[in-house]
Amino acid sequence: MFLILKKEVFAPDTFLWEVAAPEIADAAEAGQFAMVRLKEGGERIPLTIADFDRERGTVTLVVKVVGRSTEEMATYSAGERFLDFIGPLGAPTQVKGKNHIVLVGGGLGVAPLYPILRSFKELGSGTTTILGFRTRNQIFWEERFRLLSNQLLVMTEDGSYGRHGTTIDALRFILSGEVPVDEVMTVGPIGMMQAVAEVTRPLKIPTFASMNSIMVDGIGMCGSCRITVEGKVLFACVDGPDMDAHKVDFEELKVRQNRFKKEEIASLKKYRGECALKKEGRIF
């Protein structure tokens, strides 16, 4: 069992867990992920390692509630324990010393950029960070990013905070500026990562995106997470999650993300039904 040391709620649908997991913290590198299994019969939920602290032996996850399992995760509080925690998984982000790198994070994708930013900083790279949120109350970790970024742009789609616009607007702005950019790294919704790739493609700036295709085992056995990269089948859990964004077939990925829509909706309904019955004391 793994102990949740801290829980922080960022927005109604977004929360952070800090988990005691010294062995995972020790081995983790920026860009890797872990899997949470809450209880017997539970799913293996892949989640990016949003931060790790080797000294304190902790791993941080930032989670957005999108369905049954993440909704159930949200019911856990600090001090509670969950069943299985598997990680680190996937290949670390290739962090090489660069003159200047641009990091583009959208929504939840902001969290996993943090250890990547820190690694680039440690190697002395210049960094521009672009963080995009829908609206003001979704923003988190602005200060953490500001401390490590040479330049930080916070964007909101409704203009309620920072600059009005999308991360893509900000990226275009940065790329049209003076500073030559060696590499772009992006984590966020598929549509956003695809748009980032389209902006950098004509400029031939190497661009990497973190793939969140649907996983089961996460250790390269089942093939659920396969994606097509330059016509070749690759597996996000062992060959990724980072992939060359100019080569990924994003259209296909979008379709494959909806593979289980019907079952996911049914499962959420059933779960909510059971929760309601439990509240009413009709099942235990």
Partner: protein
Amino acid sequence: MERRSKTILRQKVAMPEAPALERRNGFQEVSLGYTPELAKVEADRCLLCKKPLCVPGCPVAIDIPGFIRQLSDGNLPAAYEILKRSNPLPAVCGRVCPQETQCEVKCVMGRKGEPVAIGRLERFVGDWGVAHGAAEEVEARLTGKKVAIVGSGPAGIACAQDLARAGVAVTIYEALHEVGGVLVYGIPPFRLPRKIVNQEIEGLKRLGVRIERNKVIGKIFTIEQLLHTKGFDAVFIGTGAGLPKFMGIPGEHLNGVMSANEFLTRVNLMHGYEKADTPIGMGDSVIVIGAGNTALDAARTALRMGAKEVTIVYRRTEKESPARLEELRHATEEGIQFCWLTQPVRLHGDVNGSVVAMECLRMELGEPDLSGRRSPRPVTGSEFRIQADTVIYALGTVANPIIARSTPCLKVNQQGYLEIDPQTQMTSIPGVFAGGDIVTGSATVILALGAGRRAAQGILQYLGLSREEERGEGHGLTMPAVSRAG
């Protein structure tokens, strides 16, 4: 000893089975096993040959007449003892071993009738052992040596058992949350009940073996760390085969197309058969491509998960199908359709990106080639479509890259499988041994068990612990070295 009445039964004693229409709706075991009476009748068919032909057919050289004699005499503990001496998992192998092409095909009784049902007898005795908790509790003198085993499939289990018996402190690291490898995530419970695997694992724990689940070696610890910081004297790698193969035909990315590994993992490992949280993604009409064990398991599982139609598509004929005869018979009884000599060429999808049909070509067998094999070739203009909302690929696997990528000095062959010394199972790194599917590619449970045992001997030798006097006593040392299996 002269034995046997004058009339020897020509045929095997049939094993009771659950009726096809009943069993296809659930995950209870299909073959029900012999009763003690049936086992006795079958055991009495064995001639107890002085020079048994069956034994060399068994990859771990079980003393087959030895255990059958004890079974005939009603001495089950002794029969079990003999089995366990060579085979760490008799109740498992009695169920899943391809007996008909190994021990049984060689049995003299097969010349005039059916061979002795060695597998069924092994299962009977194995089940007796499991039910009676007869797994030994050896008081091995501890040697002070520590060995790490990576992977808890048959290869890892076999290696762990022999090392623990020899007084080595063993820790198994398993990547998944359940222990047993393919025995729990691949082979479905209607062929191998979970209870059997779990009880064998309990036996291992009684021997003092520690098992750490959810630890992916190469990620949380590297092989090098196991040896140099974690203080293990040797490491055994039994990580099994890996990533599923696809064909590269158009439409494979469509929703509803998945590998048998994925489907079986969702149902078995994630307990989809008990309606756990992980979705299955299966529709009403299922096509399975391939005709090996994995394909049949996927097809029969699909049926049990409620598919209305399940069709197996294979480019060769039934004769070339690598699946066991018994499995083919069971599948047919349960209502699975077979399209032999059929080659998929393209998958068609709908506007939502979900598969709706598979386009195929009919094949015919050509003239025999130099090896005498008639290979299939397409019949021109024979395109036809099969309607399907789920397509499952069972075309085998390629090597899992995690260990090799994280262990720079480890030699692998062109396919990515680990290179070993076939006598000791040692890899290119001193003190690091390997066996099972990660060495041979997908093979069988019994070959993995054999490899695990050979590696245990190799490790004991490497650690200076192998005892001369045990040599040749059927403790695995007489076992033939097996390299790549097909």
